[in-house]
Amino acid sequence: MSTNDLPVIAILGDVNHGKSSVVATLTEDDSVRIGAFPTTTQCQRFRVRDLLEFVDTPGFQNAREALRELKEAGTASNPLSVFRDFVARHKDDRFFVHEVRLLEPVLEGASLLYVVDLAQPLEPRHDAETEILRLTGAPRIALLNQTGEPRYRAEWEARLRQNFSTVIDFDAHRADFSNRLALLEALATVDLAGKAKLRKAIEVLKQDREDKLDTTARIIVDLLADLLTFQHVEALRDPLRVAAQRREVEERFREKLIARELEAHREIIRAFAHQRVAVNKEGAREWLSDGLFVARTWSLLGLSGWRLLAAGASGGALVGAKIDLLFGGATWGLGAAVGGAVGGGAALAGSRTAPGFKARLPYFSRAIVGTELVAGPIKHDNFPWIVLDRALGIFVSVSHRAHARQDRETLDAAALAARLQSTKAGSDQAPDELRRTLAKAFRDMRKNRFNDDRRDATVSALREWLREISE
């Protein structure tokens, strides 16, 4: 524990074994500098919502020499005094600048996470590092990171188990929220002094995760509501040149839809604190290289024919049933049957093909008074499901993406469809009940009946789904 009463967790290890990557992932901060070469000579402190403080330390660079002087801590009544003497003695010693710095949080009473890379061989200096950490007597866990093929797992595991009670696999580039929680839980079991605060931190982090899911669900529902009702209207300039202006109006309509979708994607990325991606103006575009109106997007995403048919049929049947009701049941359910057939047929006809979509894109008219061109809203049955899938694709990517990753991710429609398939996150894989709820919500949106209560109910259903697919 530190003087500011926050649990402090120091990340230690050899240079280039992935300390900074672990810090980036644990703090969900992709601004942490990560490099193959020693990145810092100072300790970098990262506070997580006033709950925890992670300290990224410079790597050991002269551990064997340092151990020669620190060995006496093994027999000293107060081992930390030996470390304090060492730090005082070598404060300005260029040969021990890194060791002095990395021992600072240890002397503050930090818990220790020792990071090793299973792709790199175990060498005598690593023995010195683990021995130094053992001599500190601080609560400590060894993390098995891997930056490549884990060729030296057996050697590392055997050696680390001698000096660490807990050894955990933690791939900084793949670890997700549950891995982070597991690590903190493990730390809470070895750090008896900080146990209560660590448990509290875990609870807050869980709630924080819930908030992110809720935020994402709201972003997606609002996006769908906006896109399904969006229209672009322009005054007719020249009645003799309608065709040319129609193309312009159509293009502007598309651009506005794309911009609104892009804004929502950015909001989702920001909700998960992926600044490295979101900060880029073109960041969201980079995630999805195929645009909203690209034919491949329509052929690969959204609901498949029969599921769409089912959704469309139920919608049509609902309309038909109302007609039946209007005639006091005199139609004997014919309205519902015809409505279902018409709705389903229409949905099947224009389900996944780009030409079908194009034919139905914006409806142009010399509107009511004949002086305006109106584009939208898009009536295509699969349109909301495609928008939903694209948003779910972004969500799955960012929620599973470790903040240690420095690469930029680009998904074309096929890759996005594959990712949704593999994570069972696509609208096609959604539970029937959720699909029904969403289909009803889409109808309400289109008819401007999507009030706050319905919005909350839809958000709630979608949030449950997001939780399921993010675990």
Binding site: F37, Q42, F95, P124
Partner: protein
């Protein structure tokens, strides 16, 4: 083959070009290509024109190398020469103009009050002397020097702190590069940048010389073409005797030759009082000052400047002759040029009779004796590394030891054997792995090796960076690791030449 000029004289522009070329070679991503290029230059363009005595003269060899490399390269020397010429002309022109303008201002005369000779001399000559005396005080008096150094140190410290905090924002690789460049600059700023120190001082004197010419011109022009009255004033003086003594003392350098000096009567009759006004002064006495003023400007203004200018010019030329080529990057280039050349076949015997080929062979035959220290993580490839050192570097190995480079205080037995071999094998080479991360430990280890070598003779240190493949066989390191090692060794100022293993 084109002829390479035989000039051995180095100018500042040459030196800059040379440093730019070796620095570019140091940063090059393909060391093997650089080595092959230099070996070819040596064979084709340099060695054939060298006499046997010149083969080991780095100044001569590098001069030829520079001339052979210059065509097609964009180098800073010519640019520097042009800029320097502009700067030098600018210094002269600005000196002349400023001197003329300041003197003209000080010679302002409206007929109501004479030009005060004391003010005129203070502005035109006095300021120069204050600066000169301050410089002399810095050189001669420890107290002034210490105060000046402390001031400079504080400034340097502040700059250093700013630089350090700026460096922390860089990535590890960028920071190491920056430190390496600073370290190189620090090393070069010893003997090798002396010409760059003297040159601005010489330019400053140029400014001073032309300042005095400007003052002289203004004074002569005013005297010839306008009516100027000179006088002196004082509230405390009761009689003109003191002024006369001062003027007489200042005139000493030219009085023996009959040079001008106002008489006591002239001084008395050019003593200005506001109460009496300028009309009360004697016209001849007021005019008697100007020849004396001209002599003061020439002797106390111009002459010291000319002397200093000549001194700095001579020092600049001398410093060009004292340039050394002992920096690691120079030695790396030297090693590439004169090291052994691996051939797939022997040259025809008849070629050996030609002077060029004879010199080439002479140079290549200088096999060096060295000690090899192999990092323990490379011990499995010891045989290959030893074979590479003897064949590619042409060394005869006096000793070969496996050492733990991350454990500086260990290795006693191995280092004792190295120490025993060093007197006869002044070159040493450490084979280091890439990747490698215990750099502080290596710094300490290298310092220990350097201490051993310093105890013996002048020695040259090398570091060869080696990577291992999946089977543990040595291979060339990644370019970025090679560069990182090179930058690290430069930043630490180890003086080691960084080599890349190339099977």
């Amino acid at each position: 083959m084109f002829p390479v000029p035989r000039s051995e004289k180095w100018t500042l522009a040459d030196r800059l070009d040379f440093e730019a070329l070796v620095a570019a070679d140091e940063r090059a991503g393909d060391p093997a290509a650089i080595a092959a290029r230099d070996a070819r230059l040596w064979e084709e363009k340099i060695a054939p024109q060298l006499t046997p005595a010149q083969v080991t003269d780095r100044g001569v060899v590098f001069r030829r190398w520079l001339e052979a490399r210059r065509p097609g390269e964009t180098l800073p020397g010519r640019w520097f020469a042009n800029v320097w010429r502009c700067f030098s002309v600018g210094a002269r022109l600005s000196g002349l103009l400023l001197g003329f303008m300041v003197a003209s201002g000080a010679l302002y005369y409206s007929g109501t009050r004479p030009v005060n000779v004391a003010v005129f001399l203070a502005v035109t000559v006095g300021v120069q002397w204050i600066l000169l005396l301050w410089t002399l005080a810095v050189i001669l008096f420890r107290g002034v020097r210490t105060a000046s150094q402390q001031l400079l140190a504080r400034l340097g410290e502040a700059l250093g702190q700013m630089l350090a905090s700026a460096l922390e924002h860089l990535s590890g690789e960028q920071r190491m590069r920056m430190l390496a460049e600073l370290s190189t600059l620090r090393q070069l700023s010893g003997r090798n940048l002396q010409p760059l120190i003297w040159a601005p001082l010489e330019a400053l004197q140029q400014f001073g010389v032309f300042w005095n010419w400007g003052v002289f011109s203004a004074l002569v022009a005013r005297v010839i073409f306008t009516d100027v009255a000179f006088g002196w004033e004082s509230t405390v003086a009761q009689r003109p005797d003191g002024m006369f003594t001062l003027v007489h003392a200042l005139s000493a350098p030219w009085l023996w030759a009959g040079g001008p000096c106002p008489t006591l009567a002239d001084i008395e009759h050019s003593w200005f009082h506001y109460q009496s006004g300028v009309a009360a002064l004697d016209r001849t006495a007021m005019a008697s000052w100007w020849p004396w003023l001209i002599m003061v400007i020439l002797v106390y203004g111009l002459l010291p400047r000319l002397i200093l200018r000549s001194y700095f010019a001579i020092r600049a030329r001398l410093s060009m002759r004292q340039l050394s080529f002992d920096e690691p990057r120079h030695r790396a280039a030297w090693h590439r040029l004169t090291g052994p050349l691996i051939r797939s076949h022997r040259p025809p015997e008849e070629n050996i009779t030609s002077p060029g080929a004879r010199n080439t062979l002479l140079a290549k035959a200088r096999a060096e004796v060295g000690c090899l220290l192999i990092a323990s993580s490379l011990a499995g490839a010891r045989a290959e590394i030893e074979q590479w050192v003897t064949s590619r570097l042409g060394w005869k190995l006096a000793c070969s030891e496996v050492v733990e480079i991350d454990y500086p205080s260990g290795n006693d037995a191995a280092l004792a054997r190295v120490a025993a071999a060093l007197p006869t094998a002044p070159c040493w080479l450490i084979a280091v792995p890439a990747p490698f991360t215990a750099f502080s430990a290596f710094t300490q280890f290298a310092a220990r090796v350097a201490a051993l070598t310093n105890e013996t003779t002048k020695s040259e240190g090398f570091v060869v960076v080696i990577a291992l493949d999946e089977q543990g066989k040595p291979k060339a390191p990644d370019a970025e690791w090679l560069r990182y090692w090179s930058d690290f060794l430069r930043a630490e100022g180890t003086g080691c030449v960084t080599l890349s293993y190339a099977p």
